[in-house]
């Protein structure tokens, strides 16, 4: 961390986006996390993604739980809405907010402790309900904020900083998300912005439950030899299935890859995902095959990253509930409370 505010001065050629904003306009206050924390890189990736997509900061809501990871929304998108909930409750609070105002972009930011331990049930239900959101788990394999106890995503056999072995089986949140019906599932690494930024952009454009498991080394408690979430370990075992470019409506589509290796995936909102295959026989649309692939890689000790699964026809919670088009928070009392006569009619219809 640093105690100084980041100076206002910026590069003289700092680009602006369609809204006339610079990347710096998407930053938050200065991070108080440990120097070198992977979470800070993820914050920077979110800043990059939102800037490049020219998102209006005030149309974004950042929701989080408790943990170092859950503190990060303070450090990006300073002009957006934010809610720091209690431990493990981010998914429910986000679901509620989304029901009340479906027009905002929801960024759920959580940790492996927040989402795989105390919040596991909340995580599961928000995914299976198909809440339209980006759910990012900043996964460091430990409870960083409480000084580095193993979390539920720590691999069996991984060693703590003091040399103690983890004997419990790890929860793989990617597999769970797929199994629970997430319509967009990806895994990435905080140390690889080239991969992470487009994945965040694609997840934001995805109109359903989008889940990103982002491995994010904890430099203070989990970046040592014997850890499976360290910079060195992840770099050595990273096995990307594809790489991605997100082409929004404004950009011209230029394809410069060898034929057969590039797949253009059009999402509902009009954005196009240009997917360059790195693993030739990997199909991002086949959930069952993807799950098998993931277990295969996991058994070999490899970490599969990239866009792992996408459903081009997501159904979100509002569609399932058939809510009205107008966000509920914009409906006035006369619509929301149609009065005693209406209640009588409804009751009568149920008798």
């Amino acid at each position: 961390m640093t105690f100084l505010l980041k100076p206002k001065l910026h590069h003289p050629n700092l680009p602006t986006n369609a809204l006339g904003l610079t990347r710096r306009d998407y930053e938050g206050s200065v991070s108080t996390l440990c120097a070198g924390c992977g979470h800070d890189s993820i914050s920077a990736a979110i800043v990059h993604a939102c800037f490049e997509m020219s998102l209006q900061p005030h149309r974004i809501a950042k929701m989080s739980g408790i943990g170092c990871s859950s503190k990060t929304p303070t450090y990006f998108l300073g002009a957006s809405h934010g809610f720091n909930s209690v431990h493990g409750r981010m998914p429910s609070v986000l679901t509620g907010a989304n029901l009340a105002n479906k027009d905002l972009i929801y960024l759920g930011v959580s940790g492996d402790g927040d989402s795989a331990s105390i919040g596991l049930g909340q995580f599961a239900h928000s995914i299976r309900r198909g809440v339209n959101m980006v759910y990012i788990v900043e996964n460091n394999g430990v409870y960083g904020l409480t000084k580095g106890q193993f979390s539920a995503t720590a691999d069996r056999g991984a060693k703590s900083k003091r040399g103690v072995m983890n004997s419990d089986e790890a929860i793989d949140m990617v597999s769970m998300a797929m199994q629970l019906g997430a319509t967009f599932v990806a895994r990435s690494f905080s140390g690889d912005k080239a991969q992470l930024v487009p994945l965040i952009q694609a997840a934001i454009s995805h109109q359903g439950a989008a889940f990103i498991d982002c491995i994010s080394p904890c430099v203070a408690f989990n970046n040592h030899e014997g850890s499976t979430k360290s910079f060195d370990y992840v770099r050595a075992h990273n096995d990307a299935v594809n790489s991605l470019d997100v082409i929004t409506g404004r950009d011209e589509i230029i394809v410069d890859y060898a034929p057969g290796t590039l797949e253009m995936v059009k999402q509902h909102d009009g954005s196009v995902l240009a997917l360059r295959k790195l693993a030739a026989d990997y199909d991002v649309h086949d959930r069952i095959a993807a799950q098998a692939w993931l277990s295969g890689r996991h058994a070999k000790g490899e970490i599969a990253t990239g866009l792992l699964y996408v459903d081009l026809d997501p159904v979100d919670l509002h569609a399932s509930l058939r809510t009205v088009d107008t966000p509920l928070n914009e409906l006035d009392e006369t619509v929301l409370c149609p009065g005693a006569a209406m209640l009588d009619r409804i009751n009568a219809s149920l008798r």
Partner: protein, 595 residues
């Protein structure tokens, strides 16, 4: 691209833009920090050692450092380096105890200096403490050269000159003022071991146009007129004055005329306003004193009626550019302009003149009448004779005269010791970590967001009423502190240690100006295009590391680095460190120029 070799002292020297641009390589950020600390005497001494005339230069320097200042690339205006120097001089208190003493024993070598301008005085300052027996000649009655004879007192008070010229005169040198040297041959015959020629460029150009002879009584050569004013021989001028020329001399002429009775003073230039040679701040100062600058007017004739100058005619021109982009001034074809006046001041350039140097003493002149002088050693083709200042390569300015003086002093010293003068002493360089604690540095790394502070001026009416009243009042301590805080401490360098870096990106993410990139290596030209922010400023280097674990390199664009140290604060492994780089230009006798 090759990894950067930090053992080359020039690498980090170039990063300290101001110091690099200063001809005397004054350690600017070092003295600015001392000013912020209110250690004015220390700040003064650092300046004094490097540039010899801090009080003078803090008011008059041409400031090549300021256009080079990094702050000017991240904001509208550079740090007011020059006017901060003045603050050190104004507040230094009594520093006589810190001045070198006259040498106790002489080394038996006698050196003559012709001219007592800044070039000669610098040579004298550097050599006197080493025991040289120095005699300085000047035809003026007092020392200082054009600092005294030309620069108007409302820009540079006499006491400031007296004090700083006095420091040198107090080093046990002999001054022979009021003596014009008219033969180099006979001077050399006096048996000097070496002669330094610092006679400046003393001749003002005239303008031969119809009416010149008839109107002569009211047509004055600018620099002659200014020195007559300086020495009190002229105290008045006509009500309507035309000043011809667009350089700094013209600016001094017009402002002086405003104080000697010139109510209607105009500057008239051939070129466009933008191309004028005068520094922008000199033009501003003139216009602030209600002096209009009329451009694209080529002088055609002096109009004299009844034996008295009544005005001048000018041809109207415009700038046209030929295929090669060269500018030509071509007549517009409009009627000539007639401007009425009582006096004309001609400030259209200065020339060297060496009528007193014989042609048969082995001292070669080129076809423009300039002595052939080595640009590094300042030696002429007559080994015992050295040149410096305006006399060496034509009119420049004070700080160049000082820089020449230092180098000539080194040469004269080596020459007298029988050493090879072509071999120049290396600068003294050190690099020291500034880390005091986890987020503590021994310099203030919090970046000020303030814009440049203006120097307060004396009330205009009051200033115009008294030719000796200094116009600029200087920064007070508060303003000086605030302005000093704008300095980015460019001498505190970002130093990268490859083996420590874990490529976590923390430094990339925090850097406020997108200096740092981790990327595949490539040729410099290509590398410059695929950094976090493209590095278009080719005058600024890329700092490139050896390959890292992932095979990538760290590439840092030095261009707009704020030296804020946030990269080093964010680095979990200490791969970045902030280290103060000291670059000491070595002076005669091995003395380093600062601290």
């Amino acid at each position: 691209m090759q990894a950067t070799d930090l053992r080359d002292p020039e690498y980090f020297h170039k990063v300290v833009d101001c110091q690099h641009a200063c001809p005397a390589h004054t350690p600017v950020p070092e003295y600015i920090r001392l000013i912020a600390d209110r250690k004015y005497a220390d700040a003064y001494m650092i300046n004094w050692k490097s540039n010899v005339f801090p009080g003078v230069l803090g008011r008059t320097c041409d400031r090549p450092c300021e256009p080079a200042c990094r702050r000017g690339r991240v904001e509208d205006e550079p740090v007011a380096i020059c006017r901060l120097k003045r603050v050190a001089a104004d507040n230094k208190g009594d520093i006589t105890g810190r001045m070198p003493r006259p040498a106790k024993t002489k080394n038996g070598r006698r050196i003559a200096m012709v001219g007592a301008g800044p070039a000669s005085l610098t040579v004298a300052r550097d050599l006197a403490p080493l025991g040289y027996d120095i005699t300085v000649f000047d035809r003026d009655s007092r020392g200082g050269g054009m600092i005294r004879s030309q620069i108007p007192k409302f820009r540079l008070p006499e006491e400031v000159i007296d004090e700083e010229v006095g420091f040198i005169e107090g080093l046990g040198i002999t001054t022979k003022y009021g003596i014009s040297i008219d033969s180099l041959k006979s001077l050399m015959a006096d048996g000097y071991d070496a002669v330094f020629v610092g006679t400046g460029a003393p001749r003002g150009r005239s303008l031969e146009l119809p009416g010149r002879a008839e109107g002569a009584a009211n047509i004055h050569i600018g620099i002659d007129w200014l020195s007559s004013v300086s020495f009190g021989h002229i105290e008045k001028i006509g009500r309507r004055v035309i000043v011809l020329g667009g350089g700094n001399t013209a600016m001094d002429c017009c402002r002086t005329a405003r104080r000697l009775g010139g109510a209607d003073v105009k500057v008239i230039v051939r070129s466009g306003f933008e191309e004028m040679k005068a520094s922008p701040w000199e033009k501003d100062d003139a216009m602030r004193e209600d002096i209009p600058i009329m451009n694209f007017l080529v002088p055609k004739s002096f109009v004299v009626e009844g034996g008295k100058l009544t005005g001048m005619t000018f041809e109207k021109v415009q700038a046209e550019y030929d295929a090669k982009g060269r500018r030509n001034l071509v007549p517009t074809g409009e009627l000539d302009t007639y401007v009425e006046c009582d006096d004309v001041l001609v400030a259209v350039g200065q020339e060297n003149s060496f009528p007193w140097i014989e042609k048969d003493i082995g001292l070669e002149f080129d076809r423009w009448g300039m002595p052939v002088v080595n640009e590094t050693t300042f030696q002429s083709t007559q080994p015992k004779v050295f040149f410096g200042g305006d006399a060496a390569f034509g009119p420049k300015n004070i700080i160049w005269a000082v820089a020449h003086g230092h180098q000539a002093a080194i040469s004269i010293h080596k020459f007298c010791q029988g050493e090879d003068i072509a071999e120049r002493p290396a600068p003294g360089v050190t690099l020291t970590s500034q880390k005091m604690g986890i987020h503590e540095w021994s310099y203030d790394n919090d970046i000020s967001n303030d814009q440049r502070f203006a120097v307060p001026h004396r009330d205009k009416a009051e200033a115009l009423a008294d030719i000796k009243a200094e116009v600029e009042l200087g920064y007070d301590e508060k303003l000086a502190f605030a302005e000093a805080q704008r300095c980015l401490n460019c001498d505190v360098q970002t130093v990268f240690a490859e083996p420590l870096c874990i490529e976590c990106d923390a430094c990339v993410d925090i850097c406020p100006v997108d200096c740092i990139s981790f990327t595949g290596n490539d040729d410099e030209a290509v590398l410059r295009t695929h950094l976090e922010a493209p590095a278009h400023n080719l005058t600024q280097d890329l700092y490139v590391s050896l390959p890292l674990k992932t095979g990538r390199i760290m590439a840092k664009d030095e261009d707009v680095c704020l030296h804020c140290g946030l990269c080093a604060e964010r680095c979990p492994t200490g791969a970045w460190d902030m280290q103060r780089f000291i670059y000491d230009l070595t002076q005669a006798g091995g003395a380093s120029c600062s601290r």
